[in-house]
C-alpha cells in the first residue's frame, strides 16, 4: 500500500565533516484533502476541519509567503487557505519553533478557514529533488505541482491561486495550467482584497522593514553588542554549570540599567544561588527583552554590583545614583537567548520637535513603548506625522548585533493619547487580552430563549438528571443586583434524621460542548475580565446572565454536590455528585440573609418572593427559610472549625483578594458579614470534595489549585515593620501567622493592621492551577486554606478552570458507573499547558484591572486644581522606607505611592514649627525604621514607620506612558480628620459628593442631557451584574466625568 522512496541528505557533523544520510520516505495513495469539493470522499477520509464551501477560490501560499507574511495570513477575513506541508516544513526549519507553533495553532483553530495538506506524502504529488536543483526551486516546484493536483482533485471546479514572491515562478508557471494561477502576494491582495486596508498597511510595513534590514546587512556597521553564542554551546554550558538559565525581568523603575535574571527550576538548585542575578546596563543585557529566557554568565566577584534602593523616576535615563546601592549581589551578563518572548507592544511616536532632533534618517523613527521595561523600537514608516497623537501597536522583527535598538514594524492604531477608549485598549493590548465580540458561528451554537420561543427543560435531560425541584428548598445568596448566579445552596433533614447539605452549581458544560467554538473562545479568554468600568465576559450573555444563571423561580440545570451529615456532630457520612435539575426558590442578597440570621424579619419586604403571598403561607415559608439559613450557618461554623488549625486562614485568602484590588474594596463595610463566610465555607467545602473526587479518579490529569508556602526570607520586612510597632509576627506556619496577625492590632490606628496584612499578602506566593500528573502529591497543599487538595468548581460562568473541573467530575461519575466516558479529557501534558495559560490569563486580568483603576484615579485627579481643591490633600501612612523617600498609603483613596524627601535639585524636606514642609538644602539619613532629614540650618525632621502625614496628590502626565499619581508630603502631621475611625465614613461622604458632582456637571454641560443619563443608567444595568460589592459605581461616575471632559474639549 505504501511506496518506499529514499531521500539522501548530506549533513554536516559538529566536527565539520560531511555525512551522507539515507532516510526512508513513504508515499501513500491518498491523504485527507479537507475540501468539501473532494471528488473521492471515500478515499480521502476527511475528518476534522474542512475548508468552507462559500469561497470563490483556494489560496496556496508559497513557502516564502508563509514565512514573511504570516501575520497577514492570520487575518480571519482571508479564507480558503491551504498550507502545503512543504511550506510548513520550510517555516519549521528556517523560522524556528515559535513561528511554527503559531502556524500549528492557526491550523488547529476551528474558527480560521485554513487546512494543511500533506503533499509530500502523497504518491501523485511527491517530486524528488533533482540533481543540482536548489532547495528553494524544489520547494516552489513541489508546491505548484501539489496545487495542480488539488485543482484536478476538486474536479476543476474551484480556481486555485498560488501566491509566491518568486518572480521567476510567476513567469514559469503562470500560464501552465488553466485554473491554477500564480501571482505575487502584493498582486493578490490588490486584486482580491482591495478593501482590507489593515492587511495592505501591514504588508507595506513588513515589506519596508525587510528592505531596511537588507540594506543594513550590506552596510558594515560596528558592533554594538557581542554576538550570541550558538545553541549547542549554551546547552552544554547550562549542563556543565558554567552558564545559568533564567527569565529576564527588567526593573520598571530603572529600565535602562537594572534587570534581573530570575532562575528557573533546575539551574537554581545546582548553582547554589538563591537570589536573582543582576544584569547591569544595556550592554550586559545584550539585546534580550523583558520576559525572554536567557542564558547568563556570572561575572567575577570583584565586578559584582548592588541593586539600587533609592526611589527614582524613570525619565532620568543614565544618571545612575551610585551612592545608594545595597551590598553586592551576583552579577552577570547575557550570552545567549533561548527563547524570545516578543509580543505586540503599544508605542507612542515622538512629537514633531523630537522627530526633528532625531535628525538625519527621517525614514527610521525611534518610538517609545508604553511599558517602561521595553527598549525603544526603530520603525520605518512614512506615516510618522499622522500617527503622532495615537497609541500604536508595533511588533519587533529583529535585533542585530550592529544595532543599538531593535527593528520593528507598525501594525495598527489603537486610539488617541489620553482618550479613555484608547487608554483602555492600550491596557488590553499590553496584557495580551483580546476581546473581540463573540462571533457569528459562536452565537449560532447558543440555545434560544426568547419570549416567543422560551427555553425548556428537555425530557431526555429530565430522565437522566436527579430532579430536586420538588424535594429541595434551594436558594442563592449573592451581592445585590447580581445577574450571573453560579452557585445555590440547600439544606434539609433526611428521613433518618441526618442532615443533607447541597451545593448546586450552574451546569455550564451542558451548553458548552468541548471544542465547540464557544469552548475555544472561552479557553482563549480563560476568565471574565473585570476592568474598573467594564466587563468582558468569558461566555456570551445568553448563557452567563440567563440560561446558566441560577435565577429564582425558573428551572435550571445544575451540577450538585450533596453531603449527608450526622445530625449532631455534622460529620460527613456520604457524598453524592451528579447532574440535577433545580428551581431556586429565593434569590437573597447578603444583607437580607444576615438580617434573617439575626432574627430581624423586617427585611422580608425587600425579598420579592414573599410579596405576593398571604400572611399565613408567608409565615410558614419564612420559617422554613430562616431555619435553612440558620442551619447552614451552623454547619459552616463546624466545618470551618474542623479545618485543622486554619481558623483565620480563610480570612487571609479573602483578604488577599481584597488587598490586591484594595482601591476597589475601600468602600466595602469593614466587618464582613457572617453570611459571607457561610457561603464561602460551603463553596470551599464543595471545591475541596470535588478536588478529592477528580484526583482519585484521574490521579495524573486532574486540574487542582495549589498555594505553595511562602519563603521565610520574604517575611523579614513584615517582621521588621511589626517590630517597629512593638508586635511580634510568628511566620513559622500558616496558623501562627494568622494568629499573630490578629494580635497585631493597634487600637488607636486600625490601618496598621491592614498594612501588616497587606505586607503578609505580598510576601506570599500566588495560588496556581496545576495538573496533578506534573507535581508530587505533597505539593498539592493549599497553604492559605490549609487544605491538602483544592480546586475551583463553583464559578464556571466566569472561570474556564471550573469548566474543566466540571468535565473531569462528569467523566469521574461515568467512570464510577463503568460507562465509557464521552468526553475526551486532556492528557497531563496538555492540561499542564492549559494551566499555564489560565494562570497567565488570570495574572493579566489582575494586572489590567489594577491598571484600569489607576487610570481612573489619574483621570479623576488630573483636572483638579491642587492648590484649591481640598480633595487633593489627604491623610497618608508611611509603610516603607527608601534612601531618598518613603512609600505612603492613602487609606481614603486606597492609593499607594512614593513620596520624595529629597527632590531633583538635591534639596531635602524640612518642617517648620507649624509643621508645614519646605525644601531646603541638607542631607538625609536612613535607619531601619525611620528616616531623618537634616537641613544645613540644623533643623531636622524624622519620619517613622506608620506615621501619619498629610500629602498632596497630583498627577504626573506622561505622553508615552500611563499617567502616574504623585504624592508630596506637605506636613508631617496627620490631616485634619485625624480620627481614622472616620475614614470609612468620609469615603462614603466622598461617594455621595461624587454623585452630586456628576449630576451637577451633567446639568452644566447641557449636552443632550437625557440621552446622557439614559446612557449612564443603561451602563449601570449592564455592568452591575457581578461586582455588586465594589467601587464599581464610584468609578462608573468618574468615568462619566472623564467622558464629559473629553467631549467638551473636542467639541469646542
Amino acid at each position: 500500500m505504501l511506496q518506499k522512496r529514499e531521500k539522501v541528505l548530506l549533513l554536516k557533523t559538529f566536527q565539520g565533516r560531511t555525512l551522507r544520510i539515507v532516510r526512508e520516505h513513504y508515499l501513500r495513495p491518498s491523504v485527507p484533502c479537507n475540501s468539501p469539493l473532494c471528488s473521492q470522499p471515500t478515499v480521502c477520509l476527511n475528518d476534522g476541519k474542512l475548508l468552507s464551501s462559500d469561497v470563490t477560490h483556494y489560496m496556496i501560499p508559497d513557502w516564502k509567503v508563509v514565512q514573511d507574511y504570516f501575520e497577514i495570513l492570520e487575518f480571519p477575513e482571508l479564507k480558503g487557505i491551504i498550507f502545503m506541508q512543504t511550506a510548513c516544513q520550510a517555516v519549521q526549519h528556517q523560522r524556528g519553533r515559535r513561528q511554527y507553533n503559531k502556524l500549528r495553532n492557526l491550523l488547529k483553530d476551528a474558527r480560521h478557514d485554513c487546512v494543511p495538506f500533506a503533499n509530500e506524502f502523497l504518491q501523485d504529488c511527491y517530486l524528488p529533488r533533482e540533481q543540482g536543483e536548489s532547495m528553494e526551486k524544489w520547494q516552489t516546484r513541489s508546491i505548484y505541482s501539489a496545487a495542480v493536483w488539488y485543482y484536478h482533485h476538486c474536479q476543476d471546479r474551484m480556481p486555485v491561486i498560488v501566491v509566491t514572491e518568486d518572480e521567476e515562478a510567476v513567469q514559469q508557471y503562470g500560464s501552465e495550467t488553466e485554473g491554477v494561477f500564480v501571482i505575487s502576494f502584493k498582486n493578490y491582495l490588490d486584486n482580491f482584497w482591495p478593501d482590507l486596508k489593515a492587511a495592505h498597511e501591514l504588508c507595506d510595513s513588513i515589506l519596508q522593514s525587510r528592505r531596511e534590514r537588507e540594506n543594513e546587512r550590506q552596510e558594515s556597521h560596528r558592533k554594538e553588542y557581542p554576538e550570541h553564542l550558538p545553541l549547542e554551546v549554551l546547552e552544554a554550558g547550562i549542563k556543565s554549570g558554567r552558564y545559568i538559565q533564567g527569565i529576564l525581568k527588567v526593573n520598571k523603575h530603572r529600565a535602562q540599567i537594572e534587570a534581573f535574571a530570575r532562575l528557573q527550576g533546575a539551574s537554581s538548585k545546582d548553582s547554589g544561588l538563591v537570589s536573582d542575578i543582576l544584569i547591569y546596563g544595556m550592554k550586559a543585557r545584550n539585546r534580550s527583552i523583558h520576559g525572554d529566557v536567557v542564558v547568563v554568565e556570572l561575572l567575577p566577584k570583584n565586578e559584582w554590583k548592588g541593586r539600587t534602593s533609592a526611589l527614582c523616576e524613570n525619565d532620568s535615563d543614565d544618571k545612575s545614583s551610585g551612592e545608594s546601592t545595597s551590598e553586592p549581589m551576583p552579577t552577570g551578563r547575557v550570552v545567549g537567548i533561548l527563547q524570545k518572548n516578543w509580543r505586540d507592544y503599544v508605542v507612542t511616536f515622538p512629537s514633531k520637535e523630537e522627530v526633528q532632533s532625531q535628525g538625519k534618517n527621517a525614514q527610521k523613527i525611534l518610538v517609545t513603548p508604553w511599558d517602561y521595561r521595553i527598549p525603544k523600537i526603530r520603525i520605518s514608516t512614512q506615516q510618522a506625522e499622522a500617527l503622532q497623537d495615537f497609541r500604536v501597536v508595533v511588533r519587533i522583527d529583529s535585533w542585530e548585533s550592529t544595532s543599538m535598538y531593535p527593528n520593528g514594524h507598525f501594525v495598527r492604531v489603537l486610539g488617541r493619547i489620553g482618550d479613555l477608549e484608547g487608554e483602555i485598549a492600550t491596557i488590553l493590548v499590553e496584557n495580551s487580552i483580546s476581546v473581540a465580540p463573540f462571533s457569528e458561528a459562536q452565537m449560532c451554537e447558543m440555545p434560544v430563549n426568547t419570549p416567543e420561543n422560551p427555553w425548556k427543560v428537555s425530557p431526555e435531560e429530565e430522565r437522566e438528571r436527579k430532579d430536586l425541584r420538588k424535594t429541595h428548598l434551594v436558594f442563592s445568596i449573592d451581592p445585590k443586583g447580581c445577574e450571573d448566579v453560579d452557585d445555590t445552596l440547600s439544606v434539609r433533614t433526611l428521613s433518618n434524621g441526618n442532615l443533607e447539605l447541597g451545593v448546586h452549581i450552574a451546569d455550564v458544560t451542558h451548553f458548552v460542548a468541548p471544542n465547540s467554538y464557544s469552548d475555544i473562545e472561552a479557553r482563549t479568554r480563560a476568565t471574565t475580565y473585570y476592568l474598573a468600568d467594564r466587563r468582558y465576559d468569558m461566555l456570551p450573555s445568553i448563557l452567563s446572565a440567563d440560561l446558566c444563571s441560577l435565577l429564582g423561580g425558573v428551572d435550571r440545570y445544575a451540577v450538585s454536590v450533596l453531603w449527608e451529615l450526622d445530625k449532631t456532630s455534622y460529620e460527613i457520612k456520604k457524598v453524592w455528585y451528579g447532574r440535577t435539575i433545580i428551581r431556586s426558590a429565593y434569590k437573597l442578597f447578603y444583607e437580607a440573609a444576615q438580617e434573617l440570621l439575626d432574627g430581624n424579619f423586617s427585611v422580608i419586604d425587600d425579598i420579592p418572593e414573599f410579596r405576593d403571598l398571604d400572611e399565613k403561607s408567608r409565615q410558614a415559608k419564612l420559617e422554613e427559610l430562616v431555619w435553612a439559613v440558620r442551619k447552614l450557618t451552623d454547619i459552616a461554623r463546624h466545618v470551618r472549625a474542623k479545618r485543622h488549625g486554619a481558623l483565620e486562614l480563610e480570612g487571609v485568602e479573602v483578604r488577599i483578594q481584597l488587598d490586591e484590588k484594595k482601591n476597589i474594596c475601600d468602600l466595602i463595610p469593614k466587618q464582613p458579614l457572617e453570611v459571607h463566610e457561610t457561603v464561602a465555607e460551603c463553596m470551599i467545602l464543595a471545591n475541596h470534595w470535588v478536588a478529592k473526587k477528580i484526583w482519585e479518579s484521574f490521579p495524573h490529569q486532574a486540574l487542582l489549585r495549589q498555594h505553595p508556602p511562602p519563603h521565610q526570607e520574604f517575611f523579614s520586612e513584615l517582621r521588621e515593620c511589626a517590630k517597629a510597632k512593638g508586635f511580634f509576627i510568628d511566620t513559622r506556619s500558616n496558623k501562627t501567622l494568622a494568629d499573630s496577625l490578629d494580635n497585631a492590632n493597634d487600637p488607636s490606628d486600625p490601618i496598621v493592621n491592614r498594612l501588616l496584612r497587606s505586607m503578609a499578602t505580598h510576601a506570599m506566593s500566588n495560588a496556581l492551577y496545576f495538573s496533578t500528573g506534573s507535581c508530587a502529591e505533597e505539593e498539592f497543599h493549599h497553604y492559605g486554606l490549609a487544605l491538602d487538595k483544592y480546586t475551583h468548581f463553583t464559578s464556571p460562568i466566569r472561570r474556564y478552570s471550573d469548566i474543566i473541573v466540571h468535565r473531569l467530575l462528569m467523566a469521574a461519575i461515568s467512570k464510577d458507573k463503568k460507562m465509557e466516558s464521552k468526553e475526551n479529557l486532556f492528557s497531563n501534558k496538555d492540561l499542564e499547558e492549559l494551566c499555564r495559560h489560565i494562570n497567565n490569563r488570570n495574572r493579566a486580568a489582575q494586572r489590567s484591572q489594577k491598571r484600569s483603576t489607576e487610570l481612573f484615579q489619574c483621570m479623576y485627579f488630573k483636572d483638579k486644581d491642587q492648590e484649591t481643591e481640598d480633595r487633593c490633600i489627604s491623610d497618608g501612612v508611611i509603610y516603607s522606607m527608601r534612601t531618598n523617600g518613603v512609600l505612603v498609603f492613602i487609606p481614603r483613596f486606597g492609593i499607594k505611592g512614593a513620596a520624595y524627601l529629597k527632590n531633583k535639585d538635591g534639596l531635602v524636606i524640612s518642617c517648620g514649627p507649624d509643621s508645614h514642609s519646605e525644601w531646603k538644602p541638607g542631607s538625609l539619613q536612613r535607619f531601619q525604621n525611620k528616616i531623618t532629614s537634616t537641613t544645613t540650618g540644623g533643623e531636622s525632621v524624622t519620619f517613622h514607620l506608620f506615621d501619619h502625614v498629610t500629602v498632596r496628590i497630583s498627577v504626573q502626565a506622561s505622553r508615552c506612558h500611563s499617567d502616574t499619581i504623585r504624592l508630596e508630603i506637605i506636613s508631617n502631621k496627620p490631616y485634619m480628620i485625624p480620627d481614622t475611625e472616620l475614614f470609612h465614613q468620609s469615603s462614603l461622604l466622598l461617594k455621595s459628593d461624587l454623585v452630586k458632582e456628576v449630576t451637577r456637571s451633567v446639568e452644566e454641560a447641557q449636552l443632550a442631557q437625557e440621552v446622557k443619563v439614559n446612557v449612564i443608567q443603561e451602563d449601570c444595568e449592564k455592568y452591575c451584574q457581578t461586582k455588586g460589592r465594589s467601587l464599581y459605581t464610584l468609578l462608573e461616575e468618574i468615568r462619566d466625568l472623564a467622558l464629559l471632559d473629553v467631549s467638551n474639549s473636542h467639541g469646542i
Binding site: L2, V22, E24, H25, Q92, R104, L107, P116, E120, H700
Partner: protein, 245 residues
C-alpha cells in the same frame, strides 16, 4: 536537533508513516547453501543476515553440554559500514555481547531444546545496515533461519519495537526516532499463544502508558508474523516445486 517533529498534528511521522504502520519488510530464506539454515531480511533500511548451524555435537569444552536440552549459542555482529559513519567494531564488545545474550534468551524460549539433549545450536546474526530496530530485525531474521534449518520451534518468534511520542505509541521506530531519545520498547512475541519471549525497555515511561505501548508493539509483531508466514510458505512452495521435478 531538538526541533524535529516526530509526530505531526496530522498524524504523520517523519518518514510519512502513520503511528501504527510498519516499515517495508522484505525477506528471503535459504541464502547460503553451506549453512543448515540462513535468511536475509530488510526492515526499511535495516538489513540483517542470519545463519544457523545445528543441532550438532558440542564444540569445544564438553563440560558445557546440558544433559536435558540443547545449548543455544548466539553471536551478534555489526558491519563496519552499517552506520552513517564508518566505525570499527571489535568482536566481543559490550553491545554485541549484550545483544547475543538477548537473542539467546529469546530463542531458548522458542526452540524446543529438550528434543536435542547434549547438542548445540549456533545462530549467527550480522547487521549489514542499521537504521533503527536492529534487535527486531535480528530476531526476525534468526527465526527464518532457524525455520530454514528445520529446527523444531514452538512458534515463530516475531519482534518489533515501539516508542512513545506525545501520548501516542509509535510502532517500528526508525533511526531518527530512536535518536530523539524517547522511551523505546523491544518486544519478541510468540504470536500464536501471545506469549512474550523477551521484553526490553530503556528510558523511563510512566506505568500508565506501558499498556498501550505494549499493545502497539504486540500488534506490530503480529503484523510481522503475517509477513514472515507468507515468506515461509512462498519458500516452501518454491522448494517443493524444485523437489517435484
Amino acid at each position: 536537533m531538538a526541533g524535529l517533529e516526530l509526530l505531526s498534528d496530522q498524524g504523520y511521522r517523519v518518514d510519512g508513516r502513520r503511528a501504527g504502520e510498519l516499515r517495508k519488510i522484505q525477506a528471503r530464506m535459504g541464502v547460503f547453501a553451506q549453512a543448515d539454515g540462513s535468511a536475509y531480511i530488510e526492515q526499511g533500511n535495516t538489513k540483517a543476515l542470519a545463519v544457523v548451524y545445528g543441532p550438532h555435537e558440542i564444540r569445544g569444552s564438553r563440560a558445557r553440554a546440558l544433559p536435558d536440552r540443547a545449548l543455544v549459542n548466539c553471536q551478534y555482529s555489526s558491519a563496519t559500514f552499517s552506520t552513517g559513519e564508518r566505525k570499527r567494531r571489535p568482536h566481543g564488545d559490550r553491545k554485541s555481547c549484550e545483544m547475543g545474550l538477548q537473542l539467546r534468551q529469546t530463542f531458548e524460549a522458542a526452540i524446543l531444546t529438550q528434543l536435542h539433549p547434549r547438542s548445540q545450536i549456533d545462530i549467527y546474526v550480522q547487521v549489514l545496515q542499521a537504521d533503527g530496530g536492529t534487535y527486531a530485525a535480528c530476531v526476525n531474521a534468526a527465526t527464518l533461519a532457524v525455520l530454514d534449518a528445520g529446527v523444531p520451534m514452538r512458534d515463530f518468534v516475531c519482534a518489533c519495537s515501539a516508542g512513545f511520542v506525545d501520548g501516542t505509541p509509535l510502532a517500528d521506530l526508525s533511526h531518527v526516532e530512536e535518536a530523539a531519545g524517547g522511551p523505546q520498547l523491544a518486544l519478541a512475541l510468540l504470536p500464536a499463544s501471545g506469549q512474550i519471549a523477551l521484553l526490553e525497555m530503556d528510558a523511563r515511561l510512566h506505568e500508565d502508558h506501558l499498556e498501550q505501548v505494549l499493545e502497539a508493539a504486540a500488534r506490530a509483531a503480529r503484523d510481522v508474523h503475517a509477513l514472515l508466514d507468507r515468506v515461509v510458505r512462498q519458500h516452501v512452495r518454491e522448494a517443493s516445486v524444485l523437489l517435484g521435478d
